[in-house]
């Protein structure tokens, strides 16, 4: 399958994520949109890595040559998971204080 399809899909996912972050006020949905962007990047990483692996094995007969991108995705997932846990904790605290998860209530530090 040509690499372009992966790129288009990933671009679409990323734009949906941006649109979600920009337009939504609900903190949980913004969070989900951020995850969507992360996963768009992950998808791209895996796709490029796969393509790179196919080319690299033709030159070098080592099994795992050119698979760095796929490994990097795991790191992204781990960090994202950690981030989600912290982020959700913040949202819980926010809900307790403001009785809402609307990010527009987060401007209390202003003035």
């Amino acid at each position: 399958m040509p690499i372009q399809y992966y790129i288009y899909l990933s671009l679409a996912l990323f734009c949906i994520g941006i649109a979600g972050v920009l337009t939504r006020r609900n903190a949980i949905i913004i969070f989900m949109s951020v995850e969507l962007m992360l996963n768009a990047v992950n998808l791209l990483l895996v796709a490029f890595s796969k393509m790179h692996h196919a080319v690299a094995t033709a030159v070098d007969k080592v099994n795992n040559v050119g698979t760095d991108g796929q490994i990097f995705v795991f790191f992204v997932m781990v960090v994202a998971a950690a981030e989600v846990s912290v982020g959700l904790a913040i949202i819980v605290m926010m809900y307790r204080n403001a009785h809402s998860v609307d990010v527009n209530f987060l401007n209390r530090l202003k003035n």
Binding site: I18, L22, V103, N107
Partner: protein, 635 residues
């Protein structure tokens, strides 16, 4: 004795420092003793130096290198020769008498101001001594500036009076205008000769071209017109009467204003090389004589009359310098120092007795209340009018004789000036001392003769005014009796006055004395019984308003300058420069108020900006090649 040369200026400097720095802690008595004492010692040393110079010739003392750069070496040196020792005697001698006089005259001042007054007076004497003792033009210039500064300080001594401050500023600025010319003359000398030491300059003067000599002497003369109150820079001197009366006597009559005469007499070798400059000086001199004398006729302020008389007498000195009678000019400096200091101090005594009244229309009949002041003042008037055997006769006669030898027209004008001098002096005398008293009862009650500290200097100066001229008796009266010429011989080497028959000389003297006597009789007859009490009309009003010269200067120079300054201040400064500065400030304020709105606290808008910025950056990154070529086309 020659080892003590440096003490002569150093003592007044020390007096200035002590009185100036300790003015809060010294008593008036201590200040008086220090102030007068240093001048007295300086006078005694000068006297010793006088006899040494008379016996052994000039003393030149070099102390250190003042300026030592490639191509120019100016030592800090004093040159005490016949000319400078004469001026030193006048400065310290007359200066001492005026210091003594001041101890009584200024006694009502509070102690710190009293000490400030004496410190300035000492600083003035120091500067003046530096001026006449300096061995080169630069030291002379230091003293030249110093006396200008002291003049400013002392005219503005009563600094709470705004008018006096304006008078002080006027004196300073007028002097500065002249000083610019003087400084340019010095630069020209350095550029052409590479030295400023008198001996070297005069020795090398022959190498100068005619243009150089004329340029240098004219520029130096411009400096002299400022300091010695000649046309066109004389207007500061009458206004300088704002200072205390002894200051007027010391600075604006006896010493500082003679600095220009000293400088030109010192440079007589240069001046005698340029006929153009000599003619300019003679014409300016005689014009100043007549202008100031006509103004003096209609002044009613006792000090203003004397001030214009000073300007007029300085004009005589410059007339003498212009016609080559350097001896006569210096002689007149000396006699003028005696009788003008006497007249000013006498006027001060009158002002003191009248309770600070200076208008002669409110005086009259003071003869019987103040006998000593009256007699000494009368002697001063006779001396300045040129009545033999008073000192003024000999010096004025010498100048007039030289003027006749040069050009009889100058002599006629000079005699006319002498007649005017006699007329206005005896108008002043008659209005002040003769007739009946016209002041208030209160003033009449308080009229009294001044104390000894005031009358003793008056008596001393009156004696000097009487006999001071006898050292310069012309050869036509007693052959070889002119000690003055003989003494100045080594310095004034270029005196060239055509010999004339003795009969002519006697005739000239007789005419000038007769004219002066007639003028005196007219003045006495006119003003003793019926003094001028009304405001003068017509021509008299024109003279009373000083030919409207001040108004002319205001209209031609001061007001245009003020208008220009106002234009720069209101238009260029306020709208232009301030506009730019304030505009920048206002723009920053306005734009920051607008940009502040971006920081709304809305998380969504922050993210939007971030995304937009990323998009822009990505677009730039993709198209950087195009952007680069586009920019390189512009710049």
């Amino acid at each position: 004795m020659s080892q003590l040369v440096y003490l002569v200026p150093l003592l007044p400097l020390a007096g200035f420092l002590i009185n100036g720095l300790l003015r809060k802690s010294l008593s008036k008595q201590a200040v008086s003793i220090i102030g007068c004492g240093v001048i007295l010692i300086a006078f005694l040393i000068s006297l010793g130096l006088f006899f040494q110079v008379k016996a052994n010739g000039p003393i030149i003392q070099t102390y250190f290198n003042f300026i030592d750069i490639k191509g120019l070496n100016i030592p800090f040196s004093f040159q005490v020769d016949a000319l400078s020792v004469l001026f030193m005697l006048i400065i310290t001698g007359v200066g001492f008498l005026i210091h003594v006089y001041s101890t009584s005259y200024m006694h009502e001042e509070s102690t710190p101001h009293f000490a400030r007054y004496f410190s300035f007076l000492n600083l003035f004497v120091f500067s003046m001594l530096l001026l006449v003792m300096g061995g080169n033009y630069l030291i002379l210039f230091l003293g030249w500036e110093g006396v200008g500064l002291c003049s400013y300080l002392l005219i503005g001594y009563w600094f709470k009076n705004t008018d006096y401050n304006y008078a002080a500023k006027k004196a300073f600025i007028m002097n500065r205008i002249g000083d610019v010319g003087f400084l340019l003359g010095i630069f020209w000398l350095v550029a052409k000769l590479g030295t400023l030491t008198y001996g070297n300059v005069f020795a090398a003067a022959g190498n100068l071209s005619a243009v150089d000599v004329t340029g240098i002497t004219i520029l130096l003369f411009i400096g002299a017109t400022g300091k010695s109150a000649q046309i066109p820079l004389y207007t500061w001197l009458p206004d300088a009467m704002a200072g205390p009366t002894p200051v007027s006597a010391l600075i604006h009559a006896a010493t500082m204003v003679t600095a220009g005469v000293y400088m030109i007499a010192r440079s007589n070798i240069l001046y005698s090389m340029s006929a153009v400059t000599e003619n300019v000086i003679a014409i300016i001199g005689i014009a100043t004589v007549l202008l100031a004398a006509t103004i003096a006729i209609k002044q009613n302020d006792i000090k203003k009359v004397l001030a214009y008389s000073t300007v007029s007498q300085l004009g005589y000195m410059f007339l003498g310098l212009g016609v080559g009678a350097y001896n006569g000019a210096v002689f007149h400096v000396m006699t003028h120092a005696f009788f003008k200091a006497l007249l000013f101090l006498g006027a001060g005594s009158v002002i003191h007795a009248m309770g600070n009244e200076q208008d002669i229309r409110k005086m009259g009949g003071l003869r019987k209340y103040m006998p000593v002041t009256h007699i000494t003042f009368l002697l001063g008037c006779l001396a300045i009018s040129g009545i033999p055997p008073f000192s003024g006769f000999f010096s004025k006669d010498e100048i007039l004789a030289a003027a006749y030898a040069k050009n009889p027209v100058l002599w006629v004008l000079g005699v006319a000036g002498a007649a005017l001098t006699a007329f206005y002096m005896f108008r002043l005398y008659a209005t002040t001392f003769l007739g009946s008293f016209r002041g208030t009862h209160d003033q009449e009650h308080h009229l009294h003769e001044s104390p000894g500290a005031i009358t003793l200097p008056l008596i001393a100066l009156a004696i000097l005014s009487l006999i001071g001229g006898w050292i310069g008796i012309p050869a036509v009266m007693i052959p070889d009796a002119n000690a003055f010429h003989h003494f100045l011989q080594p310095v004034i080497t270029t005196e060239a006055i055509a010999e004339m028959p003795h009969a002519t000389e006697w005739l000239l003297m007789a005419v000038s004395v007769a004219v002066a006597v007639i003028a005196i009789l007219i003045a006495l007859g006119k003003f003793t019984k019926r003094p001028e009490l009304n405001e003068p009309q017509g021509l008299g009003g024109f003279l009373a308003h000083k030919w409207y010269i001040d108004e002319l200067y205001d209209a031609v120079i001061v007001n245009p300058l003020n208008a220009l300054a106002g234009f720069f201040k209101n238009i260029i400064e306020k709208s232009g420069i301030d506009g730019i500065v304030n505009g920048v400030g206002r723009f920053i304020l306005y734009s920051s108020r607008q940009v502040r709105l971006v920081q709304s606290g809305q998380v969504g808008s922050y993210i939007l900006f971030m995304v937009l910025a990323i998009i822009v950056l990505v677009l730039i990154w993709i198209n950087d090649g195009y952007i680069y070529t586009y920019l390189s086309k512009i710049f």
